[in-house]
């Protein structure tokens, strides 16, 4: 069920990423201030935007789970958060590489944008131990959804707070004054954003398909392990780990 449409989505993602990389390296002009190092932004910023939106999307799915008690939404929420955490790792690493090249430091602790993203990332890193500390599946899903809703609401609040903090050193991609991108750079950036967002959707779908298939296999194993009528001896089969 989840695998439906995965193939065209994967092809679209590959095409979009190829187009984005071509635009970054062969179309977008060099930045007057930063030069070639600014090319990292075409990867770093879309990854950050997608990861943050993914966290919020995970919260929305969690709301649907709490409202309907349908475990499908819990799976959606979990996978959305999981993928956004992976993207978050990429955001932190690519951001650090840019900071080292541009500022001479891998990390700057008095920069609100960096620290706030790290806080959001670490908060979501606690989602896994929190979730898997609960054994009962019903409670696990419910508590994880409450976490996802609370944390998902924190993400936009955190974003707005950082924007209002008037950062001194972190550049703004969508600034209205003194920093807005020219047309060719903005076009390249938007293609990159679309490509990274497509990649996120594709990987979420792939993960959901794998989880669904794994669940179906467990069901099949349970059905085959069930003793036939009249027999009290279960046919225990160890699950392949």
């Amino acid at each position: 069920m989840y695998g439906k449409g995965l193939k065209p989505l994967s092809i679209a993602t590959v095409v979009a990423i190829a187009a984005a990389l071509s635009l970054v390296f062969f179309y977008a002009p060099l930045d007057a201030d930063q030069g070639f190092i600014q090319k990292i932004f075409y990867l770093h910023v879309p990854l950050a935007i997608t990861a943050l939106i993914g966290f919020v999307v995970g919260g929305v799915f969690a709301v649907l789970h709490l409202r309907s008690n349908d475990r499908k939404w819990d799976a959606y929420s979990y996978v959305s958060i999981h993928m956004s955490v992976i993207f978050g790792v990429a955001v932190l690493i690519t951001g650090s590489i840019w900071a080292k090249a541009s500022w001479g430091h891998w990390w700057v602790w008095d920069e609100p944008t960096l620290v706030s993203f790290l806080i959001v990332f670490l908060m979501y890193a606690t989602y896994y131990p929190f979730r898997y500390a609960i054994e009962d599946p019903e409670r696990q899903g419910r508590y994880a959804s409450v976490f996802a809703v609370t944390a998902g609401a924190f993400v936009p609040l955190n974003f707005m707070a950082v924007r209002m903090a008037q950062s001194l050193v972190h550049p703004r991609v969508f600034a209205t004054t003194n920093g807005g991108l020219p047309g060719s750079m903005m076009f390249t950036f938007l293609v990159c954003l679309a490509a990274v967002a497509l990649l996120w959707v594709t990987l979420v779908k792939l993960e959901l398909t794998a989880k669904s298939t794994s669940g179906q296999l467990k069901r099949l194993r349970r059905a085959l392990d069930a003793p036939p009528t009249g027999s009290s001896r279960p046919r225990i089969a160890p699950e392949v780990s």
Binding site: I37, P228, R235, V240
Partner: protein, 92 residues
């Protein structure tokens, strides 16, 4: 644009290039690692599915050979059929 960025001159290409390459390679490596993990999961599921299919076939054959007896003594683990080249070829 912030003051610091104005004060920071653009890096020469040979120096900036390694940072840009590093950032894009990190992204690529993360994707490849993720795909490798998913591939190992897929392999595990395939192995498990083959195991279950073998068990189901053995059970149905046992029921045909000895109707009424059942196949209580067997487990999925016991019913592993050797997955040789012929079987692999027939799967394809």
């Amino acid at each position: 644009m912030p003051d610091l960025l104005f004060a920071t001159p653009a890096l020469p290409l040979d120096e900036a290039g390694k940072y840009v390459a590093g950032a894009y390679i990190v992204f690529l490596v993360l994707i490849v690692v993720y795909v490798a993990i998913m591939a190992s999961k897929l392999q595990r599921m395939e192995r498990e599915l083959r195991e279950l299919a073998g068990f189901a076939e053995t059970r149905s054959q046992g029921e045909v050979a000895a109707p009424g007896r059942g196949s209580e003594g067997q487990s999925i683990s016991d019913s592993f059929a050797p997955h040789g080249a012929e079987e692999a070829a027939s799967d394809v």
